[in-house]
Symmetry: C2
Subunit: 253 residues, 2 copies
DNA sequence: AAGTGGTCTAGACCACCGT
DNA sequence: CGGTGGTCTAGACCACTTC
């Protein structure tokens, strides 16, 4: 035991809400995460061991373990058997989060706007039909949008949705992100499969994104599934590479 | 209950190894995963509920839950309260896994080779020093490699490592991936932070990758940390976009 | 009301690490 | 050796969904 062990922020031991809907492990992990990002728990700091932490908080060890595991999965903590749990060294303060579902990302930094370039119900071609798990020729809503941040074009978004979920107006898309709209209609994404690549720009992409003709674009194609596992949306997006990139944190399992 | 419920492959109920080092939850999740990828459990199939599954396997419910959770995190299963656990619809058979640490990925499909273009100990510049958490001017090993698959150039890999971990020869790099080499020396990666983007190719990149001058490349910069949270490696890679892309599965938390 | 997953408890034993 | 995390058990109560 060194003098630096077990130095935990006072806020961690505030009363826990045992009646509300927020799980105890989540309350604990949130408090520890805040302590890390705020710098109260600096890089390399050791946490108290799980049993002691549980006693001090009046929680069982599995609950404490789950709270810590959440942060290990986020790449904020590292556990070693026989050693203990430490805050990861390195740039924990940087906002490198899991690749977000995009819409929220820009909202924090800059003023996002959207121009709807196309919006119509069409028949699914072979590629879209396969991704959505429907038949070729089935009706799908097609949307093509230009996403800007502070008036500067950042991304060109092309999406296809089964018609059942798509009674949406132009105005909706001007004001809200696609996921926000779907969530408001009771559609919740649970799993998404993405493929990130690059290529030269085609057709009108360069002009719309205000880059050099045939200039490089970052591409992302995605299929999203709802809670029942049914495909809800496919998207083929391309981004201005000087203004956008994907940040990912990997954790060895 | 429909007649399709609880149809589980016979192999799932083989004897479990309770003495070996492999955790029970892992044995269970592996068997279920195999049943899914092999098609024994088709898309949309419902699993037995957790309690019943535990009884049939002679395991407690938390153990079963953990096994299922592993597959939920992988995007293979979906759980809904009050409903049950189902295999995700959609292209589960495709090999879209979490972005692997690269070296293993190509090995399966094609014959990978590596050409070492540069290999020397140099002084860390500002950028590398910050990423590795060392001082500017500290010695680091610099390696620049061209990765080919079936004689076709796929990626240009530039890496920097603290000298302590880098008594490696050219021959090593010709034959093995960087991570494999480090693992063999007792260095294990636990967390990695990646940033994926795109840009036009610079300098000799187009020539080495055998693409058009100034053609688009997919880029990935990564910092990897070991179990103690110390930075072990930084890499600045670029890939031929027609031959390589990143696949990611996201799961809503 | 019945069935499901979501959370939580209070223990237990083991494997690994440092001294 | 003592301390740590890794795994596992056998229950319990709750929230949600469907009937």
């Amino acid at each position: 035991m060194t003098t630096h062990d077990g130095v935990l922020p006072a806020g961690l031991f505030m009363d826990l809400d045992r009646s509300g809907p927020m799980p105890l492990y989540f309350q604990v992990s949130t408090r520890i995460e805040q302590a890390i990002t705020s710098g109260e728990l600096p890089a390399g700091a050791r946490l108290e061991n799980e049993v002691a932490l549980g006693e001090r908080l009046g929680l069982s060890r599995p609950t404490i373990r789950r709270a810590i595991q959440e942060l290990v999965d986020k790449g904020l903590l590292v556990r070693r058997r026989g050693i203990g749990t430490q805050v990861v060294h390195g740039p924990v303060s940087r906002k490198v989060e899991l690749t977000s579902l995009f819409d929220d990302l820009k909202a924090g930094d800059q003023h996002p706007t959207t121009r709807v370039l196309a919006h119509a119900v069409i028949e699914a071609d072979e590629h879209v039909a396969e991704d959505l798990g429907i038949k070729v020729g089935d009706p799908v809503t097609h949307i093509r949008r230009l996403r800007l941040a502070d008036e500067v074009p950042v991304a060109l978004l092309e999406n296809y949705l089964p018609v059942a979920i798509a009674d949406l107006s132009h105005e909706d898309f001007e004001d809200f992100g696609l996921y926000q709209l779907l969530r408001g209609r009771g559609v919740t994404m649970r799993v998404a499969k993405q493929r990130i690549g690059a290529r030269a720009s085609h057709g009108d992409e360069a002009q719309l994104l205000e880059i050099e003709e045939n200039g490089a674009v970052l591409t992302m194609s995605r299929t999203a599934y709802d809670a029942s596992g049914a495909a809800v949306e496919v998207g083929y997006h391309c981004y201005r590479p000087d203004l956008y990139s994907f940040s990912i944190t990997l954790v060895e399992k």
